[in-house]
């Protein structure tokens, strides 16, 4: 059950392998990609033919002083440029669209993966780091796909086309002018993994930085009350310094290629000049061709320089991709098994634990060989000292986790064999610390409740009234329309009320209340008790509480301590256990 994200970068992966990975996301865009390539070829050819025509005009007409030829070939040149402009338009548009749609699929893929992973994944990773991975790292991919990709591909095409022209016009001069490019290829290959690694380290440092800042800012009142403004500064300065170092290293790495590429371009131009002149002296080249050559060398090396500046964007994107694919490669271990797999012998139990062991971390069991069963329509209380394992048991009941060993049966059937929809419909769980989405209270109440989703506000009020839930709404200034936005705006007690209403409205067969009203005042709590009695007689209730008033009507009380569960019998006995117990936690 390990979902912890590491930060090992996968050095073996080449750029090509990464592109191959993006391919499944591109498959449904074959037509656009094909058309884009056609446009790229057209625009590249057009911009390559230009210098050729200029060379021709110089040699055939200017050198021979024929102004009419200059004019008529000038018209051809105009056509070429017009065609080039049109092709460039379609090239940018089509490639850009492919990039945007790819990004769309990629973002969906990541988000859907996130939804498919179990709770353990979120508990094992830092929220700040996760958010940075998904926001920041996809943004790096975004920059590459929305801006750089178009240039990357068209420049690559231009480069190849110019190289072909260079070699075809004059083999010797062509090869000579491409020698610096070969050197570049080797240097780039040698430096790429270094650049990527520096960027990977830097992205990690950025993740830490934002995790640290958000922790410190969210907890600022603590900093203020305990007078540790220096703590805030020191801790931040530390990560700031680390981020500075890694960012500096990444910046240097990203910038090394650019001057080297300019150097290669300049050397190539010098080669063309001096070697070209000596070829002319030997009668192997014309002056007009030399002029075209100077321009072709530019057309070959300029795109290379562009690619060089894009290359680091590409390496940054790859580093981001590594961190994201770590999430994409995770698989949920909470699988749905075959129905016939395992059956309980008991018939009238709704939920049964059979010899359940559980560990969050391997080897550290927090539940030891627990067995109990819950019958339909009864109310059960789980009491015990803090840290005894009550919340863990509740989490297992709603299959937020699977037991390390042992079985849990729902309606006599292995809980693992229930489809999620059916299982979650049967089991309602009100968490100790409820979570509300930034929306109105009505939307929060209806959240995850497809049956009531389409109700209007008045219809919803009616449904709420059936359960007596309407009485709770006067705790909110604008009733159902009250907006929940930033944290701290509603008190913990109010949040608990919303979570309570939300759970009741789903009419679960098993309702688990984990300290669900701990921060609600006792008068309101009475109201909650009344509402609970309005649930169908068949509803099984599990109540976890410290306050005994909430559990006095329980049919059975379980005492949970140090990962063991015992039947307490009466409330009085439970009290005695709790008071006498030498705690092991």
């Amino acid at each position: 059950m390990n979902y912890r994200l590491t930060n090992t970068s996968h050095q073996t992966e080449s750029a090509f392998a990464a592109i191959k990975k993006f391919w499944p996301l591109l498959r449904n865009q074959k037509r656009e990609i094909f058309l884009a390539f056609v446009a790229v070829i057209f625009s590249s050819i057009a911009s390559l033919v230009g210098p050729l025509i200029i060379g021709l005009i110089v040699d055939k007409f200017i050198a021979t002083k024929q102004i009419s030829g200059v004019l008529s070939w000038g018209a051809v040149l105009f056509l070429v440029y017009a065609l080039s402009a049109i092709a460039t338009y379609f090239q940018t548009k089509l490639m850009g669209t492919v990039g945007q749609k790819l990004l769309f699929s990629l973002r969906s893929e990541i988000f859907n993966k996130l939804q498919s992973l179990p709770l353990a994944f979120f508990n094992q990773n830092k929220v700040g780091d996760l958010i940075s991975r998904i926001n920041n790292d996809t943004d790096k991919l975004n920059q590459f796909f929305s801006q750089a990709l178009v240039q990357f591909i068209s420049n690559s095409f231009m480069m190849v086309g110019a190289a072909i022209f260079l070699v075809m016009l004059n083999l010797k001069l062509g090869i000579a002018s491409l020698v610096p490019a070969f050197a570049l290829l080797i240097i780039t290959k040698a430096l790429s993994s270094w650049i990527k690694q520096k960027n990977n380290t830097n992205l990690k440092a950025t993740g830490n930085l934002s995790a640290e800042i958000s922790e410190a800012l969210e907890n600022f009142k603590l900093v203020a009350v305990f007078n540790r403004r220096d703590y805030f500064r020191n801790r931040f300065n530390e990560v700031n310094e680390v981020n500075y170092q890694s960012s500096l290293a990444a910046g240097v790495a990203n910038n090394t290629l650019i001057p080297i590429y300019s150097l290669a371009s300049n050397i190539a131009q010098a080669i063309v000049l001096f070697y070209g002149v000596s070829l002319i002296i030997n009668g192997n080249l014309t002056v007009g061709l030399l002029v075209s050559y100077v321009s072709y060398v530019g057309r070959f090396y300029d795109p290379i320089r562009h690619v060089a500046s894009i290359w680091s964007t590409f390496q940054i994107a790859l580093a981001g991709w590594d961190r994201i694919s770590e999430i994409l490669n995770l698989k949920s271990e909470l699988k749905i098994t075959e129905v016939e797999n395992k059956k309980s012998k008991k018939t009238n139990s709704l939920l049964e634990f059979s010899k359940v062991n559980f560990a969050y971390q391997e080897g550290k069991n927090v539940l030891h060989n627990i067995s109990f069963d819950l019958e339909m329509g009864k109310t059960y209380a789980f009491v015990g000292p803090t840290g005894g394992g009550k919340t863990t048991i509740a989490s297992l009941m709603s299959r937020l986790f699977d037991p390390t060993s042992g079985e849990i049966y729902l309606n006599g059937q292995d809980i693992k064999s229930f489809p999620e929809k059916e299982r979650t419909q049967k089991i309602g769980f009100i968490l100790q610390e409820p979570f509300l989405f930034s929306a109105t209270i009505a939307e929060n109440i209806l959240y995850g409740n497809p049956k009531c989703q389409s109700l209007s506000i008045t219809e919803l009020e009616k449904v709420l009234a059936e359960f007596g839930l309407d009485k709770l709404l006067n705790r909110f200034p604008q009733g159902l329309e009250t907006k929940v936005s930033t944290k701290g705006q509603l008190s913990l007690g109010q949040q608990q009320l919303i979570a309570f209403i939300r759970a009741i409205l789903r009419k679960p067969e098993l309702l688990i209340l984990d300290e669900a009203s701990a921060n609600v005042d006792t008068v309101t709590e009475k109201l909650l008790d009344e509402i609970l009695t309005k649930l169908p007689q068949t509803t099984t209730k599990v109540i976890i509480a410290h306050r005994f008033n909430t559990i006095e009507n329980a049919d059975e009380i379980f005492f949970v301590n140090a990962g063991n569960v015992t039947k307490a019998g009466s409330l009085k006995h439970a009290m005695e256990l709790l008071l006498k117990e030498k705690r092991h936690s």
Binding site: R107, I280, V291, G387, T424
Partner: protein, 582 residues
């Protein structure tokens, strides 16, 4: 997506930053100038080479050495320029982050909440990154672009001014095209940023609420929410793209026309013998050099606009006045007598607290009791000065909180929050969070909060890391850690916000006894739901909808306050059990 229109963010002159780093800026400009200046000579060299060869037919060997030197020079200076860009921009980012944190750390909590942590996080990360991009790209970009545009224009004019004037027409044409299209794109960029914020919000909430999502099986609902935001993001991206895809062909076409002019008109001049073939070639090259910096300037103007907006947001934080200097009064000998006079708090249009007045004697125990959303937590926050009252005042030993030296005041006042606020560090550092906590005080606090057993079972003891939202600690354990942290101050006043909610009965009893024993003269203020735990308190305040509707001891309230009696009745049946255990 409905977003309230935020206040217009002012933009600030980012160029001011350059003045603060004269050495960095000067070197950066110098290197950019040298590298690009030398670059301009290359086409000239080629022209001279071709001309000297065509006129003499001799190999231009005298040019080999200068060419080599210039190429080497360009390499060295452009390397230095790139290095300087990185060094300067990272330096500026480092310093800005440091200064901004320093500034933020001096603010009081209300200011942080006003700006909101999310916005401050953006200021410290992406806004500073935008400023960094300005230094890294815009400064050198503008210097080199201007140099190349001016340099190649002059060279064009020198070579042939008539032809040059026609060719230079492309500068205003491309410039205007850029201005028009960027004007339209700018709006979309802002919208794009909003959509990204929206996407992030959906992602963040789905992470923070992951347990809720799984319990309610609403993964599909989340996917649907995300799909909407994602589609909007893609559509905005496509709109921006459609502007760009019309911009680029215009530029290539216009520059193509410039080349056409050179070929036809220049060709005519060469035929007429008014221009050499070498100059003709150089003209071609200079036009090539000219176009790129024009495009560059266009993109840089966008970078500048973005970074100016970011710098403006950062500057806003810097310009926020620091909280008034705290007083000089030492709280060293604070007795712990507290008095609230006509305390009112209004948030927005809502009255949270109405003219509340009460007195708490030093060394006594006071409970604040009342229904959910009565304003109890806000009252606590007002008492310690975390929130400024709208009117009225709080006195400690007869003096205003502001008169006390904040350091010394908060060394004597301990607060335990309702929700778990723990740092992702060791238990020891969390408990000894305050500087004034020495090991003797920490041990006393641990014993008082009944944490000894827990800590002894942990493999790393006090050095165990408390993980962020980790499963390692239960709600009650976190609550006790927070109590220990407050007690480690050895405080004179202790405020508990719903401390008993997550701690079991037995532990609660022990802890309250421990406090009585280990901190005998402490003034205790406790927000609670449980009447049974405060029956013997010196004073109970009943708070309802912002009003203290009753105060007194348990006995007095049972005679005078119907609301209190109602609350008491609702808990009575179980009190029998709880009382029987005394």
């Amino acid at each position: 997506m409905s977003k309230p229109a935020g206040p217009a963010t002012p933009s600030a002159n980012v160029f001011v930053l350059l003045k603060k780093y004269p050495k960095h800026s000067l070197l950066l400009v110098a290197f950019a100038f040298l590298a690009n200046g030398l670059g301009l000579i290359i086409p000239k060299l080629i022209a001279i080479g071709i001309d000297s060869f065509t006129s003499s037919g001799v190999f231009p060997s005298h040019l080999i050495l200068p060419t080599f030197l210039i190429i080497t020079g360009i390499f060295i200076f452009s390397f230095a320029q790139n290095l300087m860009q990185t060094i300067a921009s990272e330096r500026v980012a480092l310093d800005l982050r440091k200064q901004l944190t320093q500034k933020i750390s001096l603010q009081n909590n209300a200011t942080i909440e006003k700006f909101t942590p999310a916005v401050l996080l953006t200021n410290l990360t992406s806004d500073i990154d935008a400023v960094k991009t300005f230094i890294a790209q815009a400064v050198a970009g503008i210097v080199s672009s201007l140099l190349l545009i001016i340099g190649s224009s002059i060279l064009l004019l020198i070579t042939d001014w008539k032809l040059a004037l026609v060719v230079l027409l492309i500068i205003p044409i491309i410039g205007i095209t850029f201005k028009v299209i960027f004007g339209k794109v700018q709006v979309l960029f802002i919208k794009g940023q909003e959509v990204i914020d929206w996407l992030n919000k959906v992602i963040n909430e789905s992470i923070l609420g992951s347990a809720t999502v799984r319990i309610l099986n609403s993964e599909d609902r989340e996917k649907e929410k995300f799909k909407q935001a994602n589609e909007t993001a893609t559509n905005t991206g496509l709109k921006i793209l459609s502007y760009f895809s019309s911009l680029i062909p215009v530029i290539t076409f216009v520059s193509g026309m410039a080349v056409l002019v050179i070929v036809v008109l220049g060709g005519y001049f060469v035929i007429k013998g008014e221009m050499t073939l070498g100059s003709f070639t150089a003209f071609n090259s200079y036009v090539g050099i000219l176009i790129f910096p024009i495009i560059m300037m266009g993109f840089m103007s966008n970078v500048i606009a973005r970074s100016a907006a970011s710098y403006g947001r950062i500057q806003q934080i810097f310009d926020h006045p620091n909280p008034t200097e705290s007083g000089k009064l030492s709280a060293e000998n604070l007795s712990g007598a507290i008095e609230a006079k006509d305390l009112s708090l209004v948030i927005g249009t809502k009255n949270i607290l109405n003219k509340t007045t009460f007195k708490i004697k030093a060394g006594t125990r006071t409970a604040i009791i009342g229904p959910t959303a009565a304003g109890k937590t806000q009252l606590l926050s007002l008492i310690v000065g975390l929130t400024e009252p709208t009117s009225g005042q709080i006195l400690f030993d007869g003096k205003k909180i502001k008169d006390y030296d904040q350091n010394s005041f908060f060394n004597k006042v301990g607060l335990v929050f309702q929700e778990s606020v723990l740092f992702n560090t060791t238990i020891e550092e969390n408990i000894g969070f305050s500087d004034s906590a020495n090991s003797e005080n920490i041990n006393k606090a641990i014993a008082t909060a009944e944490l000894e057993n827990l800590i002894s079972t942990l493999p790393d003891g006090l050095k165990t890391i408390v993980s962020e939202r980790g499963t390692s600690l239960s709600g009650g354990q976190k609550q006790r850690l927070m109590l220990a942290r407050a007690l480690a101050l050895n405080p004179q006043v202790l405020l508990l916000d719903d401390f008993t909610a997550r701690v079991d009965l037995n532990t609660e009893k022990n802890i309250l006894n421990n406090i009585k024993k280990n901190y005998p003269n402490i003034t205790l203020i406790s927000i609670t739901q449980k009447i049974s735990s405060v029956i013997d308190y010196d004073q109970i305040l009943v708070l309802m909808e912002g009003d203290v509707i009753a105060k007194g001891t348990h006995e007095q309230l049972l005679k005078s306050s119907p609301e209190y009696i109602q609350m008491y009745e609702s808990q009575k049946s179980t009190n029998q059990y709880e009382l029987s255990t005394d």
